[in-house]
């Protein structure tokens, strides 16, 4: 008698396709909305805390929660009480993020902060707009997030346009200062909205700065192996490699370049996932040495930023940009709530739109939203020097001088 418990190949393929998809996308996961207790203003804290972007998402949540704890410890929002965090997990996908916005709207939050990735933010801000629910984007850099005319959407940090313009101007300045040793460039970028959008801008703007682009290499997230990418870099021998990807892939790329003994004159990241990360510098000091990055960064002269850095490190965590961006965003919302004197969505939206908040940790100056974009927001250039991350440009915030080309 044949074994009746055997599955046919068709059954196997059908069931594995379902299960593997569920496992990989994480669509079957733990309930992800958790509530704090005993507060009167509900704030949606939405990040991708599971899936491929979970590290960045958890760091973002950490920053937001630290700000909320501090505000609540100081008595909460004057006249409105304490902030009640409604936590959401976007599961590293736009669909996951949208589902959380629906839950948060049902939970009657006054505002949502977070999103992290551009593709998630694009979806979540749009979903929130249907309910006229104010949304403060923490990181998502795609310019499309704030150019769709959504009245509910505010981005505290800079977008692609400003970042790529600043990055290229600074690259040209650093290259000029060194006697123009670099002429050729290769771009390695992740292939979602963030990396692809940035690569498109770089492709348009780098030739205007006198650089020749040898090749632009997209890759998915996650990527398991970078040997082929590095082989291509090795074969074309560019003066500068520009990576634009998330943390894990950035680390794998840098490690593989070190392994394959590929040493361009400079690695100049634009929003490099690991280039401005203390974790990367600590764990791979040799691979990280002299890497430059144009990225979000706190104001090193700001005492509150330094105090928060110590506090975060005291929790055995790294002080990454997700932490202080979200910390600043929550404080921005708290300021708007206080000025609005109400958690009503329309009033809060108006208060955010007219914000001049300057109690943040970034080198931005007072906040000024124009069509939802904080016009004061700008990135800085950092470089890994002496096993530390130093700001090298703009000089107003610098605590180090750029080293280029990389010493052999």
């Amino acid at each position: 008698m044949p074994n009746q418990r055997n599955l046919s190949r068709r059954q196997f393929l059908a069931t594995t396709a379902f299960g593997a998809a569920a496992t990989v996308t994480g669509s079957i996961a733990m309930p992800s909305v958790l509530h704090a207790q005993g507060a009167s203003v509900k704030l949606g804290v939405l990040h991708p805390v599971t899936g491929a972007l979970s590290y960045s998402g958890q760091q973002g949540r950490l920053g937001a929660m630290m700000a909320i704890e501090e505000i609540n410890a100081a008595g909460g929002i004057k006249g409105l009480g304490k902030i009640d965090a409604v936590l959401g997990d976007a599961q590293s996908t736009p669909d996951g993020g949208t589902a959380e916005v629906e839950k948060m709207n049902s939970a009657e939050v006054a505002c949502i902060v977070g999103g992290y990735a551009s593709n998630i933010c694009l979806a979540t801000t749009q979903a929130a707009a249907r309910y006229e629910l104010p949304y403060v984007v923490d990181v998502g850099v795609a310019d499309g997030i704030v150019t769709r005319g959504l009245k509910n959407t505010f981005r505290f940090g800079p977008g692609f346009g400003v970042i790529s313009k600043t990055a290229l101007a600074n690259l040209a300045a650093i290259n000029d200062q060194a006697g123009k040793p670099a002429r050729t460039v290769m771009i390695v970028h992740e292939d979602s909205l963030f990396g692809s959008g940035l690569a498109k801008l770089l492709n348009a703007q780098l030739p205007q700065q006198g650089f020749e682009i040898l090749e632009t290499i997209p890759h998915p997230t996650p990527t398991r192996d970078f040997n082929n990418v590095v082989l291509k870099i090795k074969a074309q021998n560019p003066d500068i490699v520009i990576p634009a990807n998330y943390y894990n892939e950035y680390v794998l790329l840098a490690r593989t370049m070190q392994q394959q003994q590929v040493r361009p004159k400079g690695i100049y990241s634009v929003l490099g996932g690991a280039a401005s990360s203390y974790k990367f510098v600590k764990e791979f000091p040799d691979a990280a040495k002299y890497i430059m990055d144009c990225n979000h960064w706190f104001d090193p002269r700001n005492e509150r930023a330094q105090a928060l850095k110590k506090k975060v490190e005291g929790k055995d965590q790294f002080f990454t940009y997700e932490v202080y961006m979200n910390y600043s965003c929550v404080n921005l919302i708290a300021d708007a709530l206080q000025r609005a004197g109400s958690a009503e969505r329309a009033k809060l939206t108006a208060a955010l739109a007219s914000s001049t908040f300057d109690g943040h940790l970034m080198p931005y100056g007072p906040t000024k939203f124009v069509n939802g974009q904080n016009e004061g927001a700008a990135p800085v250039n950092t470089q890994v020097l002496d096993n530390d991350i130093k700001v090298v440009l703009p000089t107003a915030f610098a605590n180090g001088k750029p080293v280029f080309p990389r010493p052999v």
Partner: protein, 290 residues
């Protein structure tokens, strides 16, 4: 046309990454071939094994290659217990229940790891992680070469166990005819658990060989599990040589399609090979004909 200076290293790298896939797929094909369990917990168990190898290194100072001898028995016992006390009893002999039970175990393991260790990406820094073997203009990473040798060693050991030992004979007997094996006095529940344990031990070995060149986080196993399922079907379900050869083929196909079509489209090569093989040999490369 790409020069041999790129093509040859790309093929070699494909073989090396294919060997890592083989290590993951070997356990899966064993569990499916004998138990007919489509084990969705395989990726989560890989994540758990990577964490175990990571903490063995951090807390005990145990090199991942030495940790194989500690973690393989531990994960064998874990796999044995999972099948004997959870999957077997909870599924009531229904294949669909088994799918859901293993999917449930996967969700529990991943979320437990996330709760315990957060989503931090962790890596270890060992002296040989950046060492390479120089073959002409090609640098082969030492950890990947060790993984390649390890995959062959594991495949050979598994094949020897299955072919020449009483345990292997019992496993094959249960795979072919469960009722007959039971009538011949074989403890079927024990054999099921034994096989699940062997498959899980393979995952632990894969984790130890992968750790020096890769990172650890709670969802890291997901990156490998889908390709491992593809390999199991491609190689022939339940076939040890099939999993090994299929994995190497998939590794090279992925590497070359990544090279020619770009990394974003690298997966296309995998599924093209998969479709072609299934069209020509529906039972897979080494699968027995129905």
């Amino acid at each position: 046309m790409l020069s041999p200076a790129i093509l040859i290293p790309a093929i070699l790298n494909g073989l090396l990454i294919g060997a890592i896939y083989a290590l993951v797929a070997l356990g899966l094909t064993l569990i499916y071939g004998v138990l007919h369990i489509i084990n969705f917990a395989h990726g989560a168990l890989l994540s758990a094994a990577l964490f175990a190898a990571f903490f063995a290194f951090r807390l005990l100072g145990l090199d991942p290659y030495l940790a194989v001898f500690l973690l393989a028995p531990i994960f064998f016992a874990l796999g044995y217990a999972l099948q004997r006390f959870i999957i077997g009893p909870a599924s009531h002999g229904d294949d669909r229940n088994m799918l859901l039970v293993t999917l449930g175990i996967a969700v529990i393991i991943e979320n437990a790891l996330l709760y315990a260790f957060r989503a931090d990406t962790r890596t270890i820094d060992v002296a040989y992680a950046f060492q390479t073997i120089d073959i002409g203009s090609t640098f082969l990473a030492v950890p990947r070469v060790v993984g390649f040798v390890g995959a062959f060693a594991v495949a050979i050991v598994l094949w020897l166990i299955m072919t020449f030992t009483d345990t292997g004979r019992a496993i094959r007997a249960v795979a072919k005819e469960k009722l007959g094996a039971e009538l011949a006095g074989i403890d079927v529940a024990h054999v099921y658990a034994l096989t699940f344990g062997l498959g899980t031990a393979c995952v632990a070995i894969a984790a130890c060989l992968l750790l020096p060149s890769y990172y650890v986080n709670p969802s890291v196993g997901d990156a490998f599990v889908l390709v491992a399922f593809t390999i199991v079907v491609l190689g022939g379900m339940g076939s040890v040589p099939g999993a090994l050869i299929g994995a190497l083929l998939i590794g090279v196909a992925e590497s070359l399609s990544g090279l020619f079509l770009g990394e974003s489209l690298g997966q296309i090569g995998i599924f093209l090979i998969f479709i072609v093989v299934l069209l020509v040999r529906p039972s897979g490369l080494f699968g027995a004909r129905a």
